[in-house]
């Protein structure tokens, strides 16, 4: 296995709702290596989002250990977690989560505001990422002027703008029709081919089969961890040439 990007040991998350304890995760231990493409599956309420939030440093575990890129981040204060999210992780959400009054370019620029990147480079970086997802001509459109697939591509460009090592996506195709969903998956495929580690949550088998590895959750427990047969229906060849190789995303987006 490659160098671990994500390493969890007995990760537990317990929510307390009105005095009632809800055990969303009951001790998950796993390792995800650099450059892996992992799908997280499971029925609704099985803890997929909770797991993704924890490894995305959006939330902290109730118990257990989480090492990201070799550093223990399970006990970092909020300020440092924000920095980690900014530098190492790109999020893609089911509902796109674009700011409605900012155009595509400004939405993509947003993580740069908090990264200490020189302001002169913002526009160039954002334009490069938009071009990489095929939206160079739409950079001045507002989210409301874009289709769902285009909005999700803007969101992916935003996730990429700080050249993270890790992309986390929670049901990224959940709000899209299947054809648009395939387009989005094509982009993830290409990014993974360039060396970016991807973890995506989905409940669609077709989508999950795009990944190389599937983690199945049930009731907060990891019940199955399997590798995908790459010759199966929707899967593209792992080293399909050409895709993204010439795109600007290719520069430096791989593991640091």
């Amino acid at each position: 296995m490659a160098v671990p990007v994500i390493e969890t040991r007995d990760l537990v998350k317990t929510y307390v709702l009105g005095g009632q304890e809800v055990q969303a995760l009951r001790g998950v231990s796993l390792v995800i290596g650099k450059g892996e493409y992992v799908a997280v599956m499971g029925p609704s309420g099985s803890g997929k989002s909770t797991f993704l939030n924890l490894i995305g440093c959006l939330d902290t575990p109730t118990a257990g250990l989480y090492r990201l890129d070799g550093t223990d981040v399970s006990a970092l204060p909020a300020e440092n977690l924000a920095q980690v999210r900014n530098r190492k992780i790109g999020f893609v959400f089911q509902g796109f989560n674009l700011l409605p009054r900012l155009n595509a370019l400004q939405n993509v620029e947003m993580p740069l505001l908090y990264s200490g990147t020189n302001r002169r480079d913002w526009r160039r970086l954002a334009e490069e990422r938009l071009a990489a997802v095929g939206l160079a001509e739409r950079s001045h459109h507002l989210p409301s002027q874009l289709s769902g697939g285009q909005q999700q591509r803007v969101a992916i460009a935003r996730a990429l703008v700080n050249t993270p090592a890790l992309i986390l996506a929670d049901e990224p195709t959940g709000a899209l029709d299947s054809r648009t969903g395939e387009e989005i998956m094509g982009i993830f495929e290409r990014l993974n081919a360039e060396g970016i580690t991807i973890v995506l949550v989905t409940h669609e088998h077709d989508i999950a089969r795009c990944a190389r590895r599937i983690l199945s959750f049930r009731d907060g427990v990891l019940v199955r961890d399997e590798n995908v047969d790459r010759r199966s229906p929707m899967g593209r060849g792992p080293t399909e040439p050409g895709i993204g190789a010439a795109s600007p995303v290719g520069t430096g987006l791989g593991a640091p």
Binding site: A82, R85, M110
Partner: protein, 410 residues
Amino acid sequence: MNLYINGRIAVAALRVNKLRSVLTMLGIIIGVAAVIVMVGVGAGAQARVEEQIRLLGSNLIVVMSGSVNQGGARAGQGTQWTISEDDAIAIQTELESIVAAAPNVRGQVQIVHGNLNWGTAVIGATPEFFEVRDWQLESGRALEVEDVRDIERVAWLGQTVLTNLFPDEDPVGLTVRIRNTPFIIAGTLVGKGQSGQGQDQDDIIVVPLSTAKKKLLGRPPADPRVVASITVKVAAGASMISAEEHIRDLLRDRHQLQAFQEDDFILRNLAEIMRTQEASSKVLALLLAAVASVSLLVGGIGIMNIMLVSVTERTREIGLRMAVGARGRDVLSQFLVEAVLLSLLGGGIGVLLGLAGSAGIGHFAGWRVLIEPSSVLLSFGFAGLIGVFFGFYPARQAAALDPIVALRRD
């Protein structure tokens, strides 16, 4: 993350709800405008008082006949006069801090010149009068000791008398009749304008003290040396309080008053009189101060309220910004900048409104309104401070949000 970015975000946010932003600013606008007008009116009144004091001389003490018990010093004809020319001489010569002491009598007369006639105040004076009042001659010769000694029938005209009796001729050397006595015009006085009490100081005619007593007062006093008042000029830099004390001690001694007896004279200080005037403009300033502080408080609370609304409305945005790397302090400063921008905009509009209001009051009420740049800057800065103070709580609420909770909210 810097001020520029936060400013851009804030401007965009405020522009989304233009009307709401303006309504929120209203309290600050009114408050700052009231502060500007208040300080302007106050400074104007202060300046006016200071100018009057400078014009009349803040270093003047007036000694009047009579006692406080007699209901002030209405030293008209027939009143018992208790101070004399010799008191004036004693004050001037025996007290070190005194530059000059001018004994006067005062009366009301009709002046006739040809077919014109004019009622005015007459002052019987000695040469010291011109010194203590800092009054220059416009034309003619000065009043001399000999004029008083020889009871000369000469007169000096104030500007108002001059324009009414001699609209277009040089009066020096001409004769007027006062109480059927001919007086030769010896000179004219430069204009002094209105006094602090709104009297026309130029509606006056000056004659030698002795001549006034003998010819112009209805019934000459029994003692030829007594006078109605003595105007005393205190040396520059000397204490007015101790000068008053010295004059009181000297006069009580000269009048042989026992310890249990009250003063048979009254001491008045012009600076004091002026200050009572200043007090009336303070009432208005106080009123404006009340308006200002109430509306600034209300304005501040309004900003706090609208910022809390804004934080609630934009919870998802906050969650998203945090998810992509905004730290608590980035969110805090974003909302703080928005609150401060709101209050500074209100402050700016308030300053403009205040300047316009001051100009309006100055124009319509005829008051002097003095706008100092420092007061404008101060109230503008204060508006910003209100933004910081009342914006801090909502901004902290925003910064304390949990990113996933915020992201899930809709």
